[in-house]
Amino acid sequence: MYWVSVITEAAVFAILALGLDVVWGWAGDFDLAFYGYLALGSYMTFVLTIGKPVAPVQYIIGGHLPLLLAMVLAVAAVVCLAAVIGAVALRNLRDIYFAVTTLGAVSALYLLVENYTPLFNGYNGVYGLVNPGQTALNLTYNGYRIVFLGVVLVILALAYLLVQRLSRSPFGRMLRSVREDERAAAAYGRRVFSAKYRAYLFGAALAGLAGSLFAIFISAFNPSAWTPQELLVIYAAILVGGRGNPRGVIAGVFVVYIGLVELTRFLPSPASRPDFGPALRQILIGLMIVLMLKFRPEGLFRERPGLDGAQGLAARLLRPFGTRAAPAPAGGVPAAEEQAAGDRGAG
């Protein structure tokens, strides 16, 4: 049963990672708001299914909807939030400006959720969605966990097929061309903002779906369950697997997540230092991010060539990064332009 739980969690994160990879891997926008989308997906799934709040507990809506309908509505709510944040952040801002804006927006909302209890019960969070459908399907506890794992894996497979198809579609190719050179793509008549915006909404929808499944998996959610630091695990997994390659991303999540859990499970955890194991895990994730970026930024499975005009891209990804003499950064942004990118905001 231990393994069922580990694999279920990894599969949920893989769905989130697929969504994040569309935004970062294809469209090239490093986003720090996605942890908020997963959280909102979870919260909405709870408040739409667990009924009216009882005395000290407070939250909005308190519906008794069927689970599937609740999941659809939760994803819709997440897409709405992403539509607002994306409209603000994607219009003129890029790179670190984009990253900081997304982080600022979601941090503000997170603080609001923590302190304004009528919304989602503040720090204590919401709970009460225990194994929906277990009695209807007449399953034992363990049987239910296995069936749920199966459902999550099927959803992951469907998400993968959809993303894979999109990756090879004109839309996927357009996103990559925008990532490689925004101005060239615009000069060829691509609507840059619209392309990035649609990618962002699609990615956020997958994050909301992951959040909804996460809610069912852990059956309780509060603000400390999920923080920006957790998002870095997903980024580490994408880096390891290979940015822009859906199969690589899924492999990366399973390798990183299960690898970390297994590595730190057998460590001696002194009773006086209960934080030792989790802290060590975070240190390993930090090291993984830094080392992958330094030595193998394309990941273990690099973005697959064979798409239209992607040969040049693959060659670029294979080329060793910036030599000391000439500061020509990879990713096709000349040094002078990089400075301009910083000033891009007012445009």
């Binding site: 801002l93 927006a105 609001l112 840059v192 870095l232 970026l293 990713g331």
Partner: protein, 293 residues
């Protein structure tokens, strides 16, 4: 009215700490073109170094401040040599993500060394002082005056010394500075040492003002620092001081008239609004180079 003035007073003390942290952040950006997400860890390291050292020097606030600054300086040097220079020539977002990774590492090393629970100094806050219309504790006064002194020193350093000239040259164009005979590498290293020392000191005064702190002290302060930096204009040290003043006052005033729990909500909303309407700082009317992809 009295409430308002007291609020302004506390806002000034917050702004002073913010100014120290934001000036350091903007100096790092100016010479290395890096938005350093591990900047908050300099503050945390400074705060914890002072915590470890406070008993050695018999509760001397000055000694603790020096220890914090030295620890911050070492952290600045280490990050520059170990990470920033290693990633030289890579695009800005790659380095940004690498510093995020570094922040995660430092944060959790501190958790392992000091534990995740909050700690506090044993210095007193001192008594209350009425200065004109304002009401400050001794600590507040120390913070404001030391921030003014540090800001003044940085101004003199940048405007009146060969080092300052070199820093300004490198921040304009590293390659050009190099061929003009400026040892760019060394200047950048010294700038990081300076930024680290200022941040370490800021971390100590921040921790002392708040009372208790944990391993997330700096990371939680980072987004505020960035808000102040953006308000001033990234890479512009003097304007950053103005940015810090704006953010410090916005936090305290909004916090007093709603609830202190929401003051950061207002700060981050301000960040988003700045990004929307004034990404190059409130002191610039229009960007000189308008780039629209």
């Amino acid at each position: 009215m009295t409430t308002f003035l007291v609020t302004i007073g506390i806002g000034l003390s917050t702004a002073a700490i913010l100014a120290l942290s934001a000036v350091a952040f903007t100096l790092e950006y100016a010479v290395s073109r890096v938005a350093n997400f591990a900047h908050g860890e300099f503050l945390t390291i400074g705060a914890y170094a002072a915590y470890s050292g406070q008993h050695i020097f018999h509760q001397s606030v000055a000694a603790a401040a020096v220890i914090a600054a030295v620890a911050g300086m070492l952290a600045g040097l280490a990050l520059n040599a170990g990470l920033i220079e290693q990633f030289r020539g890579r695009n800005s977002i790659t380095i940004f993500i690498a510093t995020l990774g570094a922040a995660l590492i430092v944060e959790n090393v501190l958790i392992i060394v000091y534990g995740a629970a909050s700690v506090s100094y044993s210095f007193g806050q001192g008594r209350l002082h009425h200065v004109g219309p304002f009401l400050w504790t001794t600590t507040d006064l120390e913070v404001i005056f030391s921030a003014l002194a540090v800001a003044g020193l940085i101004y003199l350093l940048l405007q009146r010394t060969r080092f300052g000239k070199a820093v300004r040259a490198v921040s304009q164009d590293r390659a050009l500075a190099q061929v003009s005979g400026i040892p760019a590498r060394r200047v950048i290293m010294q700038t990081w040492a300076l930024a680290g020392a200022v941040s370490g000191f800021a971390g100590f005064v921040l921790a002392d003002t708040i009372g208790t702190f944990g391993p997330l002290l700096g990371f939680n302060f980072l987004l505020l620092t960035i808000t102040a930096t953006v308000a001033g204009g990234l890479g512009r040290p003097y304007a950053t001081l103005g940015g810090a003043l704006i953010v410090g006052l916005v936090i305290q005033i909004s916090g007093t008239y709603t609830s202190s729990a929401y003051q950061l909500v207002f700060a981050f909303l301000l960040l988003v609004l700045l990004m929307l309407f004034r990404p190059n700082g409130v002191f610039v009317r229009r960007s000189a180079t308008e780039v629209r992809a």
